[in-house]
């Protein structure tokens, strides 16, 4: 399929563990976004990449959260020393345009549960 692929789909971590969530955007898409979606809530913006440049990381909740997109394609969201409040679905989206003004193509998300 040519859609946005995220892995793992489900991750259970013990509090204090580090996790890494991967996003494979649609090939050629310039923009990549990470969102955090708590149960019953709307997606909350975390960070935005244009190619390999991280242009906005204002939504990252703490310095335990780190995202990268070193070659301008695949992106990884890393959470260090996970806490229970980190439990959520992490959505990745990509767009062929610069910025979000256009259709965002979302992946199905990675559901993180921190015990």
């Amino acid at each position: 399929g040519a859609g946005v692929s995220q892995s793992p789909r489900y991750k259970v971590a013990k509090r204090g563990q580090d996790v890494a969530l991967r996003c494979d955007p649609i090939s050629g898409h310039v923009s990549l976004f990470w969102y955090q979606q708590a149960l019953g809530q709307g997606p909350e913006f975390l960070t935005y990449f244009q190619n390999e440049a991280q242009l906005d990381k204002s939504g990252l909740p703490s310095d335990r959260f780190f995202a990268e997109r070193p070659e301008g394609s695949v992106s990884t969201l890393k959470i260090q020393r996970t806490q229970q409040e980190d439990s959520a679905v992490y959505l990745c989206a990509s767009s062929p345009r610069q910025g979000p003004t256009g259709e965002l193509f979302f992946g199905e998300g990675s559901r993180l549960t921190v015990l």
Binding site: D56, A93, T101, F106
Partner: protein, 111 residues
Amino acid sequence: QQPVQSPQAVILREGEDAVINCSSSKALYSVHWYRQKHGEAPVFLMILLKGGEQKGHEKISASFNEKKQQSSLYLTASQLSYSGTYFCGTEESSNTGKLIFGQGTTLQVKP
């Protein structure tokens, strides 16, 4: 900064109409609408740009009142497939990458 959606939930019968509203306290550059079914990815429906340009879905329409920073999504002759949670997303400027979503409106269409 998060836009406010109303109502929080709607239950309809097939063929009925619904309106979902989205309101922001900030001046907006664009409003986006997405639908998310349970356990699935959000899917793009519509974008409304400052100045009146619209791009989106054939059977769903929307309006954008720039002066009031409000948008409404109109679902006419609803189908079972319209069920899901609808999110509006707002963009304050064309220069940022930040699309801020509302808390969602859950729509259930019954036969």
